[in-house]
């Protein structure tokens, strides 16, 4: 029971962590809460279901499961990257030098827009995918575990490791870190800030797309408002770990997933969302910079 809840929590946490990375990277560079990021995840989940349904009707899923899954991931990632890019270009770039509230409200506007766009295009009822991917639970340490959960946890760990290496080892990653530290200075040493910011949005969107597709496969069901709750939770995870800090977002995501899953099964399932926010508030009061965040003095 306990072990099973831990696996549930880790799978949930992996999804939160993937979305949280998008929040934390954008915040690290632009100091902006990208409220619309949850909608990118929702769009990813929707596309996942739409593509799976499409591939099933043309018969690809039945014959080449692995190929069709790879295709779903790739196409969704490309699309979500497109949405992320457009979002940045239209709603955030013109506001880069505005006061702090403007981009935030613009982000809320985009979020409302995207939710209603998907609702108008696809209807407000749940979009269901007939489960062709169900498989026998495998037994791990004496506990029955769904292979999909293992798949979610492993995929997200691979993606996160990839991101970590990208940020730490590549030239572009270095440019991103420099931009996060000081945009102006980074610009002066020849880094194309606009390009770095666009790439940040692309990477964040791809991770959200992966999270969306995995959730779509796991639950086989999406709705136009799933992005809102997931977005808030993921942002909570990012703040918990220390916003702007990439390993922090991963840690925060897993902690949040575990707290929710254990809290729901051992304390009260109705109040499971309350635990997440209470933890957030307690952490912010005791350690405002988050678990792994460095203490930053305010810029004057």
């Amino acid at each position: 029971m306990l072990l099973q809840q831990i696996v549930n929590g880790l799978a949930l946490g992996a999804v939160y962590a993937l979305i949280a990375l998008g929040y934390t990277m954008v915040y690290g560079i632009l100091e902006l809460i990208n409220f619309a990021h949850g909608e990118i995840y929702m769009i990813g989940a929707y596309l996942g279901i739409l593509l799976l349904t499409f591939f099933t009707t043309v018969g690809l899923t039945q014959n080449h499961l692995a190929l069709s899954l790879v295709l779903v991931f790739v196409v969704t990632a490309v699309y979500c990257a497109g949405y992320g890019l457009t979002l940045e270009r239209v709603a955030y770039r013109p506001l880069r030098h505005a006061n702090r509230l403007s981009p935030l409200i613009s982000a809320i506007g985009v979020s409302i827009f995207l939710q209603n766009y998907v609702m108008l295009a696809q209807g407000s009822t749940d979009k269901v995918f007939p489960h062709v991917l169900t498989s026998e639970p495998i037994t791990l340490l004496g506990v029955p575990v769904s292979p999909l959960q293992i798949f979610i946890i492993l995929t997200s760990i691979v993606l996160m490791t990839g991101l970590h290496l990208f940020v730490k080892k590549t030239r572009l990653g270095k440019a991103m870190r420099a931009t996060a530290q000081d945009k102006r200075m980074a610009g002066l040493v020849g880094i194309d800030i606009n390009r770095v910011i666009a790439i940040t949005f692309v990477i964040g969107s791809i991770l959200a797309a992966a999270a969306g597709v995995m959730v779509a496969i796991y639950y086989g069901l999406v709705n136009f408002f799933i992005g809102y709750v997931a977005g808030i939770k993921a942002f909570t995870a990012a703040v918990l770990g220390g916003i702007g800090n990439i390993p922090g977002a991963m840690l925060g995501g897993f902690i949040l997933g575990l707290v929710e899953s254990l809290g729901a099964s051992y304390i009260s399932s109705e109040y499971k969302d309350v635990f997440a926010f209470l933890i957030l508030i307690v952490v912010l009061i005791l350690r405002p910079s988050g678990l792994l965040g460095e203490k930053i003095s305010e810029k004057v």
Binding site: L114, Y117, D273
Partner: protein, 408 residues
Amino acid sequence: MNLSLKLLPLTGLSVWIALLVLPFVGVRRAALIGAAILFGGLFWSAAIRVSRAAQRSPRVGTLWDETGEFFRAIGRWRPAARLRVFLFGIVTAFFMAGPLGMNNYMIDVLTLAGIYVVLALGLNIVVGMAGLLDLGYISFYAIGAYSYALLSTRLGISFWAALPVGGLAAAAFGVALGVITLRLRGDYLAIVTLGFIQIVHLVLNNWDRVTNGPNGILNIGRPALGSFVFSRPIHFYYLILAIAGLTILAVNRLNRSRIGRAWIAIREDEVAAQAMGVDTTRLKILAFALGAFWAGIAGVFFAGKFAFVSPESFTFFESVIVLSMVVLGGMGSIPGVVLGALIVVILPEALRGFAGYRMLIFGAALVLMMIFRPQGLIGNPRRRIELRPQGEDLKTRGRSSANGGADV
């Protein structure tokens, strides 16, 4: 600039958007959307060209800049002092007497607008004046509404006694939340207040013994004066009109007081304000408390008017709606905020035919507003004189000196 140069980015944009929406709307509608963007863009560009030619003013640059200039030009219009008094008189007379000739539906819409005017003015204290982004503002509204609901159904306390109690209860929660959270920087404050509204919503939904869960509380007592009981829509309309009038007066006084100035100082530069001897923590908590107080009052009225409260009415989304009223109208500007509340409530009712599209339009309008007119429909005049946004500063200064400095 010739047409082909402009056609290229527009075509690119429309193809790009059409591709993005393709999997969601299908081929036919994607093509329609792409075409709409292309022709809409061409039409807009032609319209701006014509208006520029008519004004004999020089072109400012790309279509994007031109659009920005178009909206700024609208915003530069200021009615003369005498016209303003006249407009104020007309508007006041309309709200005093107009509803007498309306049907109940229209009166109910105006009453709802009145509730939102009070809410938006309260939030304006927190966001517009003190510059604290509170995304959980509706939780104070909920506290006011549930205070009266419980006081009335459990203890039989009258509306008038509950009015201050609801306001003060909300203010107390505001102080409590403020003490905990105001040490945090702006964005963290936003997220904690967002967490707070979620917690309040969940508690209202699940604490069945007190709040009756999702079913809400029924049969809340109606307000009464002696033997006169408020029952018809028009009664409630005049009640909320009085409350809103009182709120406007109070907020106006605050705005011009020492406290109001201190809030504006905090909003513009907290460190500098602190250095000038402003007790920032105390004033920020005060802003939270006063904002919450008005939300509590609005909540008590809400419970009295509908005689029913349920958690449904108090969501994060409502908070966003009230925030958008403040932003749309003009942060820190009292007439602006009132106008914003009226527009956001009344416009969707007027646009019933577009029911499905109105939130879509609303979202897009928020984005466009932030890009082209961040100060809102009626910007705060004091702010415009004292503190111009830096980006706009250079451009407008150059232009206003060119046409004789007619801007300010």
